[in-house]
Amino acid sequence: MSRPSLPKASAAPTVLHGAGQERGQKTGNAEGRRGGRHADEVRRSTVDAEFHQRDRNIHPPAHTPVYKTSVLRSPRIPLWSLQNSLSEVTGPIFSPDELGPDDHDLLHNYATDGEPIGEQIIVHGYVLDGNGKPISGTLVEVWQANAGGRYRHRNDTYIAAIDPNFGGCGRMITDENGHYFFRTIKPGAYPFRNHVNSWRPAHIHFSVFGTAFVQRLITQMYFEGDPLIAHDSIIATIPDKTAVDRLVARLDLNAALPLECLAYRFDIVLRGTRQTLFENKLQGS
């Protein structure tokens, strides 16, 4: 099975060499060369599954004095660039039967005597990879403050009341089209200790897996039109303002339930693999 070579002008960054990082690395080792047909297959499958280099320009750097806590929690030595091996291109897979039937319904998954207080909303979207391909069957976890801006967490002592019917977390697995959705209440803004008067815009935290551990991502979703977005120190850690825009969920009237609740659309893109360049696909084979 011969594979076409990458076109010369391909935008796919295939090599992650940093200065001085190839030192001591051999280009062909006897074990791989000698191993016969099976070794060939192992070799080919890991190469097919390699991921595009992460574009660090769209992510916040580690050290961002505007968000003070990052200063003492940021590595100062550059990350060591590492070509993908099996340890990078594999990752945990979850199955729907590991989740409970109400895990994605934040209106009801903790409520005991009524519904949580606040504006009920639907949040939905697609999880895609960097090639625009839907990622089905992947775990999406969310957590958030209640309508008053208070988290159900022993370390949160904000003045807003705890809502006895709101836990503030949920989880779901994307369907065959990479789609996810959940119901919740719109979280409130709240102050935090950064500058003297720093406020977080309303947001929902997202944790996503993809199919490989190098796709692992935690991020936050904001709401279209929130005036606090322009003032937030954590959003300000992202240098690329078009990237910030992709964290802002759009009001989606088509998905709203008439006379019941509004909806917001938030798509999540994880890193893409090189394998989709080739007909000889690995996924599902």
């Binding site: 961002t64 968000y67 940021s74 070509q83 991020t219 360049l277 996924q283």
Partner: protein
């Protein structure tokens, strides 16, 4: 060869944001102080029938002022004792154990700053492009308040001296001193094996973190 989706353009990755101080609510709600899900993901991941040497990994995550943080999410991903990952991209011949996912999640303790993972020691995994084997190792990923994008590193085992010396990843780290930040010492007490893996976010002993 297929053409690229969307007329040849790639879709940019969603930017990362800090996991914040309340990451426990979503990912380890019991540590946040409440019960919500029936099935919880955790840090004790090898059932009684999973083959392999039982090990405990303990450690702390230090900030640049030398303080042990007490709100960090710790996740690990590893091969089984035969050196095989429970994933379709792994076509190695070692035995696959479907009952062992190989993924653990926990947090540094609110009081002590110590995280604890109970698992089995992984086997050696074939290296990139089928080249020489990598020494047994566990992949770590940590996230928290103040960490803008999750940090990836690897833990290696101090008792695998020969394999570590030949490991293709440890060997690309230019400074031998820095390789040591990834090697966890082993201790045994009453037959229980513990590896201690402390992570230093910055400072003189800063851990090697990877961009893979």
């Amino acid at each position: 060869m297929r053409s690229m989706p969307f007329g040849g353009s790639y879709v940019p990755e969603t930017p990362s944001q800090t996991a914040g101080p309340y990451v426990h609510i979503g990912l380890i709600p019991k540590q946040a102080g409440f019960d919500i899900f029936e099935n919880n993901f955790g840090g004790d991941i090898a059932g009684p029938r999973v083959p392999g040497e039982r090990i405990t990994i303990k450690g702390r995550v230090f900030d640049g002022a030398g303080l042990a943080t007490r709100d960090v999410l710790v996740e690990t991903w590893q091969a089984n004792a035969a050196g095989r990952y429970n994933h379709s991209a792994d076509r190695q011949q070692g035995a696959l154990d479907k009952s062992f996912r190989g993924w653990a999640r926990t947090g540094t303790d609110f009081a002590t700053g110590v995280y604890t993972i109970r698992t089995i020691k992984p086997g050696a995994v074939i290296g990139r492009k089928g080249r020489k084997r990598m020494a047994p190792h566990i992949n770590f990923w940590i996230a928290s308040r103040g960490i803008n994008i999750g940090l990836a590193t690897r833990m290696y085992f101090a008792d695998e001296e020969a394999a570590n010396a030949a490991d293709p990843v440890l060997n690309i780290i230019e400074q031998p001193e820095r390789r040591k930040t990834l090697i966890a010492p082993r201790s045994e007490r009453d037959g229980n094996v513990t590896y201690t893996f402390d992570i230093y976010l910055q400072g003189e002993r800063e851990t090697v973190f990877f961009d893979a």
